[in-house]
C-alpha cells in the first residue's frame, strides 16, 4: 500500500504551568495517497493538536509520524520548515493572505521559500488557473471576494505540488453557496492532481463527501485506530 501518512501512537503533552495536559493520548492511523480524510471532533478533543502535528507545525511528544516516507518526529525547526514547504499545503479558515501582495505574489510565497526563482511566475500562474482565477492575478486580497480569496489560498497550497493539503475549516468563513463551490473545487483538485486532502471540519455534510472520517474525543480516536482500512 502507498501510505502518505503513517501515525503510530502519537502522544502530545502540554505543560500549563504545573499541570500537564494530554492533548493526544496515543493515536495511530494511516492515510492512503490520494484519499480525502475528514477530521472531526468537539473542541478540546485534540483536533487542533492532531492537525498541527500532521501539518508538521508541531512535533509529537512521543510516537512516530511519517509523512510521505519521511519520519518527522525528530527533526529540528528548520528541517520541519523545509518539510512543510515541500510536502504540505495549508488552507485556513480565515484565508491568511498577505494584504500587501497581489494574488500571484501570495501564490509565489512557498516557491520563494523553496529557493525557486526560475519559472516561479509560470508555476504560480498555473496554480491560479487551476482554481479559476487567471483573470485576477494582479488583484490584492482586499479587491477579491471571500470565495476568491480562498481560491488564492488554495492555489498557494497547490503551487509546491505537496503530498498533502491541510484544510482547516476551509468553508467556515464563507456562505453556504460559496462554501459548496470551494468544497467542489477541492474535490476536483483531488481528482485531477491526486493530492491527498485532510479537512478539519464541524460540518457533517462536508465529512460525508470524504473517503474517511477521523473522529477524535478526549485525545483518542473514536472509531478505533484503523480508519484507513475501516472504510472501503
Amino acid at each position: 500500500m502507498d501510505w502518505v501518512i503513517e501515525a503510530h501512537d502519537l502522544k502530545k503533552v502540554y505543560k500549563m504551568g504545573e499541570i500537564e495536559v494530554e492533548a493526544l493520548r496515543g493515536v495511530s492511523f494511516k492515510v492512503k495517497r490520494g484519499d480525502i480524510v475528514a477530521i472531526m471532533g468537539p473542541s478540546g478533543s485534540g483536533k487542533s493538536t492532531l492537525m498541527n502535528t500532521m501539518g508538521c507545525l508541531d512535533r509529537p511528544s512521543s510516537g512516530e509520524y511519517i509523512l510521505d516516507g519521511e519520519p518527522v518526529a525528530a527533526l529540528n525547526d528548520d528541517q520541519l520548515a523545509s518539510i512543510r514547504n515541500r510536502k504540505v499545503g495549508f488552507v485556513f479558515q480565515s484565508f491568511n493572505l498577505l494584504a500587501r501582495l497581489t494574488a500571484i505574489g501570495n501564490v509565489e510565497l512557498p516557491l520563494r521559500y523553496a529557493g525557486i526563482t526560475e519559472g516561479r511566475r509560470d508555476r504560480a500562474m498555473e496554480a491560479l488557473k487551476a482554481v479559476g482565477l487567471e483573470d485576477r492575478m494582479t488583484h490584492r486580497p482586499f479587491e477579491l471576494s471571500g470565495g476568491q480569496q480562498q481560491r488564492v489560498a488554495i492555489a498557494r497550497a497547490l503551487v509546491n505540488n505537496p503530498a498533502i493539503i491541510m484544510a482547516d475549516e476551509p468553508t467556515g468563513n464563507l456562505d453556504s453557496k460559496v462554501g459548496r463551490e470551494i468544497m467542489n473545487l477541492l474535490l476536483n483538485l483531488n481528482r485531477e492532481w491526486g493530492t491527498t486532502l485532510i479537512i478539519v471540519t464541524h460540518d457533517s455534510a462536508i465529512a460525508e463527501q470524504t473517503h474517511h472520517v477521523i473522529r477524535l474525543r478526549d485525545g483518542l480516536l473514536e472509531n478505533g485506530n484503523d480508519i484507513s482500512t475501516s472504510i472501503p
Binding site: 507545525l57 485556513f92 500587501r100 510565497l109 521559500y113
Partner: protein
C-alpha cells in the same frame, strides 16, 4: 530568498506604512545630519585656525613676559623678581653672534584703544611695532605704505589700519590714506591699509591698527621708563632651526634676567606649539560635538527598535503564516533585519544630504557675518555616518528580528 528579493520586500512592506516609516527614518535623519554637520564644523574650525596660524608668518617664535608654562591650576606661576621684556632684550636677541639661528626680531607693544573718525568710533587692538613687523608677519598692504624707520625715530603720528577697522570707521577700506583719525583723542594720519586675512586665533586679524613703536610707547602706553615691550616676535632662519632658536633665546634671556635654571620669567611659544595646542582643542571640540550628535543617532536607533517591535507584534500572524509556508528561522530574521537596515540606511542617506546642507548654511552665515569659515564635509565622515547608521539599523533590529524568528508557528498562527 536572495538579498535583492529581501530588499524589495522590505521596501514594499515599509511603503505599506509610510507615516510610521517616515517618522522612524526622521530619527535617524536627525542623528546622521547632526553627526555630519558637527564633524564638518569641527574640521572647518581646525582648518581655519591652522590656516590663520600659518598665515601670520613662517618659522615664528613668540616671546612673552612671565612664566606661563609652569603654571598650576591657579593660572600662570609667578616668579620672584620677574623682569619685563625690554627693547634691550630684543636687541640682544638680534645679535647674530649670540643667536645665529635668529633671522629677524620684532618687539611690539600691545594695547587696546578707541579710534574715531568723524562720528564713527571703534575699539580695536593697537600694536606699537617696528618696520620688521611687516616682513615677519607677512603684512600685505592694499594701499599706502607700512611704518618705516623714520616714523619710529621721529615719533610720527601715523597709523596703518586693518581692513575691518577701516570699514568700521570709513564704511570702506580704499582711498582712506591721508585721512586723519583720532586714537584715544590724539590725531594720527592714515598711511596704509592692510589686506584682509580672515579670522584668527585671537579674534579678527583684520581689526587692528599699527602705529610706530616709539609713538605707542610715548603716547598710548605709560611704560616709557623701562623701555618695556609686550611681545617679541622672532623669526628663525629655517623651520629646522626653530628649536635651536628657542634654545638660544632662552639662554640669552636667562643671562640677561639672571634667573635660576627652571625659573624662567618669560615664555616662548613656537608656531608649532600653537598649532598643536589648537588642534588638540579643536580635536576635543570635534569629539565632543560628534559625541552629542552620536547620542541623537542612538536615540534614532532606539526609535527603530521600538517600531520594529511593534511591527513584529502586529505581524505575528503573518510570521506564523510564512513559517507554515516553509520560511526558516533565517528567512524571518533576514526579513526583519532588512527592514530595519533599510530604514536606517535611507535615514542615513537623507541625513548625509541634510547634514551637508546644514554645514553649508553654517559656513554661509559665518562668511556673511564676516568670519571666513568653511565647514568641511569629509569623505571619512560620510563613510562613518553611512556605516554607523547601517550598523545602528542592524544592531537595533537584531532583538525584534530574533523575537520574530523565534515565534512558534502554531502560536503565531493562533494570534489574534
Amino acid at each position: 530568498m536572495t538579498l535583492a528579493q529581501a530588499f524589495l520586500e522590505a521596501l514594499e512592506s515599509l511603503a505599506g506604512n509610510k507615516m510610521r516609516s517616515g517618522l522612524t527614518v526622521l530619527g535617524i535623519v536627525i542623528g546622521v545630519a547632526a553627526v555630519i554637520a558637527m564633524l564638518a564644523i569641527g574640521n572647518g574650525a581646525e582648518q581655519s585656525i591652522t590656516g590663520s596660524i600659518t598665515s601670520i608668518g613662517t618659522n615664528l617664535l613668540f616671546v612673552f613676559r612671565g612664566n606661563m608654562q609652569e603654571g598650576g591650576p591657579g593660572g600662570p606661576r609667578t616668579v620672584a623678581f620677574e623682569r619685563p621684556l625690554t627693547l634691550a632684550d630684543a636687541d640682544a636677541l638680534a645679535d647674530p653672534l649670540a643667536a645665529p639661528s635668529v633671522l629677524m626680531v620684532a618687539p611690539a607693544l600691545q594695547t587696546s584703544g578707541t579710534i574715531t573718525f568723524g562720528g564713527e568710533s571703534t575699539s580695536t587692538t593697537i600694536m606699537g611695532v617696528v618696520p620688521e613687523e611687516s616682513e615677519i608677519s607677512n603684512l600685505i598692504l592694499t594701499e599706502g605704505e607700512f611704518i618705516n624707520e623714520e616714523h619710529v625715530l621721529g615719533y610720527a603720528s601715523v597709523v596703518v589700519l586693518g581692513p575691518e577697522t577701516a570699514d568700521n570707521l570709513f564704511g570702506h577700506h580704499d582711498g582712506v590714506v591721508g585721512d586723519t583719525v583720532r586714537i584715544e583723542g590724539q590725531p594720527f594720519r592714515v598711511i596704509g591699509v592692510l589686506e584682509s586675512r580672515g579670522g584668527s586665533m585671537f579674534g579678527s586679524q583684520d581689526n587692528q591698527a599699527f602705529v610706530p613703536f616709539s609713538t605707542a610707547q610715548a603716547r598710548l602706553t605709560g611704560r616709557k621708563a623701562h623701555n618695556e615691550v609686550d611681545i617679541i616676535t622672532v623669526q628663525a632662519i629655517s623651520a629646522e632651526a626653530v628649536p635651536t632658536a628657542s634654545e638660544e633665546i632662552s639662554q640669552i634671556l636667562r643671562q640677561r634676567h639672571r634667573t635660576p635654571i627652571g625659573e624662567d620669567d618669560f615664555t616662548i611659544f613656537t608656531q608649532e606649539q600653537f598649532l598643536s595646542t589648537f588642534s588638540t582643542i579643536t580635536g576635543i571640540l570635534t569629539i565632543f560635538l560628534g559625541g552629542i550628535a552620536g547620542i541623537s543617532l542612538l536615540v534614532g536607533g532606539i526609535g527603530i527598535m521600538n517600531i520594529m517591535l511593534v511591527s513584529v507584534t502586529e505581524r505575528t500572524r503573518e510570521i506564523g503564516l510564512r513559517k507554515a509556508l516553509g520560511a526558516r528561522r533565517r528567512d524571518i530574521l533576514i526579513q526583519f533585519l532588512t527592514e530595519s537596515s533599510v530604514l536606517s540606511l535611507v535615514g542615513g542617506i537623507i541625513g548625509i544630504l541634510f547634514g551637508w546642507l546644514i554645514s553649508f548654511l553654517v559656513g554661509w552665515i559665518a562668511t556673511a557675518s564676516g568670519t571666513a569659515f568653511t565647514p568641511i564635509v569629509g569623505i571619512d565622515a560620510v563613510m562613518l555616518a553611512t556605516l554607523f547608521s547601517a550598523a545602528v539599523g542592524l544592531f537595533f533590529g537584531i532583538y525584534p528580528a530574533n523575537r520574530a524568528a523565534a515565534l512558534e508557528p502554531v502560536e503565531a498562527l493562533r494570534y489574534e
